[in-house]
């Protein structure tokens, strides 16, 4: 697995893929989709697909691929090796969603949540397989959100393909297990060898599992919090773990799409209190209430100053 395309710029989303086996272009194929790294506050989320001819399903089952969560890292590497050796009939493709992609999607003005991002990534990978000429007949997906809705959505998008969405599909269908192994292996390797784009000197790479409840991860987050910038791009800013820490330990930053309420906001927006309209010009504090700055200046947000 060559991760270099992602590692050259780990701030964006990147697709990695194996060669398409020739049999996949001619025979009916099945395809499994799974993800790795949905929960951690650190590192990318990796989406994987794995496909092989329907006729080779048994061979895949015999290779004892299983849900990646039940395997140790060494076992996963081993199984990935096996999948690689079976490249004459097994193909895979990965979409690596960098933590930066996740942060910017979830925190942009029009919010784009992780489920929507997941669905779109899965759809993109299936489309990639179709575009590459893989003869898809069956698609198995581990669910994200309500399984029925997701299944409906995918069936409509890919008419003629039999879509099965199930919770825990990675332990039910070998092809999904294979996809989950690809995804997990890629994520592990990326997290282990993360190239920090930021100048942090010698980075302490002992950040534990990356899950928010891991004490090691928490300690690491506390250590690498910059009061102004927050975190390196390795961290998902949209995770509440990161946000809470930045809110309490970092400098307060205001964005203009945050709405505030209360008296202070009203004052800032120059809203008059309702009462002001009734106390008929009882002498404001302004020195010259009749003076209105010309719109040439107000339209350009230009003000005179009385002090620096």
């Amino acid at each position: 697995m060559d991760l270099s395309p992602f590692e050259t710029d780990n701030s964006v989303s990147c697709r990695l893929a194996s060669e398409i086996p020739d049999v996949c272009r001619t025979e009916d194929c099945c395809l499994g989709i799974d993800e790795a790294g949905r929960g951690p506050v650190l590192g990318p989320m990796v989406y994987g697909i794995c496909f092989c001819p329907v006729s080779k399903k048994q061979e895949l089952k015999d290779s004892k691929v299983a849900d990646s969560k039940t395997l140790t890292e060494a076992e996963r590497e081993n199984l990935f090796q096996k999948l690689d050796e079976a490249r004459s009939y097994v193909g895979w493709a990965l979409q690596v969603l960098s933590p930066n992609t996740i942060s910017t999607s979830m925190l942009q003005r029009t919010k784009y949540n992780l489920n929507a991002l997941s669905h779109d990534t899965a759809i993109g990978l299936v489309q990639y397989a179709l575009d590459s000429g893989v003869q898809l007949k069956e698609v198995f997906v581990d669910t994200v959100g309500p399984a029925e809705k997701y299944e409906d959505k995918l069936s409509k998008l890919f008419p003629g393909i039999d879509v099965t969405v199930r919770p825990k599909a990675d332990s039910l269908f070998p092809i999904v297990s294979a996809a989950s192994i690809c995804a997990k292996v890629a994520r592990d390797r990326i997290v282990k060898g993360w190239n920090f784009a930021e100048d942090l000197g010698d980075v302490d790479t002992d950040y534990g599992s990356g899950y928010p409840n891991d004490p090691k991860t928490k300690a690491w987050l506390l250590k690498y919090l910059d009061p102004v910038f927050g975190y390196p791009q390795f961290v998902r800013f949209s995770w509440s773990t990161a946000q809470t820490l930045m809110d309490s330990k970092g400098v307060t930053v205001h964005w203009d799409d945050e709405d505030e309420d209360g008296e202070k906001a009203a004052q800032r927006q120059n809203n008059k209190s309702m009462l002001a309209y009734f106390s008929a010009s009882a002498g404001g504090n302004d020195q010259n209430p009749t003076h209105q700055t010309h719109r040439f200046f107000t339209e350009r947000r230009l003000k005179s100053l009385d002090t620096l």
Partner: protein, 306 residues
């Protein structure tokens, strides 16, 4: 996520981001440094900030671009004050004028250095050192020379003519820069097929008058409006209709619509509930593809059956 952030007061800092001409800070020729000075604003009569270049050769006004939610990255530091200051040349005559008008009421010719004095703003006497000041006083005042001393008296007529020229020059600039002067608001991204010819000259004149008035007292601004032969705009208050409609007939008034339907039992209108901060932030979140709360409570078997 929904925590309210507190706004702390701006901390005093000694850095500003300024746009200024090189000439304004050129201190090679003169012994003194350029300096910010506080002077009386001719339009508001309050304090405003100005800058005098080194040797008080030239006067500049200071304007700040200020909008919410802006900060600067300056080199390796962050400056929370996102203001952008503009230091632009200004005719010192505008600031000298109020003093001349005041003394002009006495009807005497006086030396200007005795006229331009202000206890509140002692820096105002430095205005007379600007290269343009003494040379252009004749635009707004009558001059007399006795011996080697010069005496001045404010002239309303001269001032009006001078200001009219200023307005006309401003009109020229407004036209040249394609500045939208119409009453209607125009988006800068909106491209008109027709050129701006549908703006009347009066629009330009009025706009330029408004701009020049930023540097004049209210009385002077009104006088200038008259001098330009522009009618005063009636304020909307006067054109408003009387607040109560008069009855047109003595017949009993009948409702035009039947409002009794709102009294029926099946019409239950609840006032919109105020949402808590958490509900508000949830309402804003993108919930596509998420499970509903209910799905967690429905029997598991249902999902497996399919």
């Amino acid at each position: 996520m929904a925590t309210k952030k507190k706004r702390t007061q701006n901390v005093q800092n000694n850095n500003w981001v300024v746009i200024a001409a090189d000439s304004s800070i050129d201190s090679q020729k003169h012994d003194s440094e350029p300096a910010f000075v506080r002077l009386r604003n001719p339009s508001t009569d309050a304090t405003s900030l100005y800058m005098l270049s080194s040797g008080d050769v030239q006067l500049f006004e200071v304007k700040a671009f200020e909008e919410d939610f802006h900060s600067w990255f300056v080199g390796q530091t962050v400056q929370r004050d996102g203001r952008l200051l503009f230091v632009t040349p200004m005719d010192p005559l505008y600031l000298i004028m109020p003093y001349l008008i005041k003394s002009g009421k006495e009807g005497k010719f006086q030396p200007v250095d005795q006229v331009v004095v202000d206890e509140e703003f002692p820096a105002c006497s430095r205005l007379l050192r600007c290269t343009r000041s003494l040379a252009s006083l004749h635009h707004i005042a009558e001059e007399k020379e006795v011996g080697k001393q010069r005496f001045h008296q404010y002239s309303h007529e001269k001032t009006m003519n001078w200001l009219k020229k200023k307005v006309e020059r401003t009109v020229g600039l407004l036209k040249g820069r394609n500045i939208s002067v119409g009453e209607r608001v125009k988006s800068t991204t909106y491209i008109r097929v027709k050129s701006e010819s549908d703006y009347h000259d009066e629009d330009y004149l009025r706009y330029a008058h408004g701009l020049i008035s930023e540097y004049l007292s209210e009385d002077l601004s009104k006088a200038l409006l008259k001098h330009l032969q522009l009618p005063e705009l009636t304020s909307p208050k006067e054109t408003e209709p009387p607040s109560k409609k008069r009855k047109l007939s003595d017949k009993p008034v009948e409702a035009e619509e039947d409002y009794t339907k709102f009294n029926s039992a099946d019409f239950a209108r609840k006032p919109p509930k105020k949402m808590t901060a958490a509900q508000k932030s949830l309402a804003k979140a993108d919930k596509t593809g998420m499970k509903t709360m209910f799905s967690f409570f429905s029997p598991k078997a249902k999902a497996e059956k399919k």
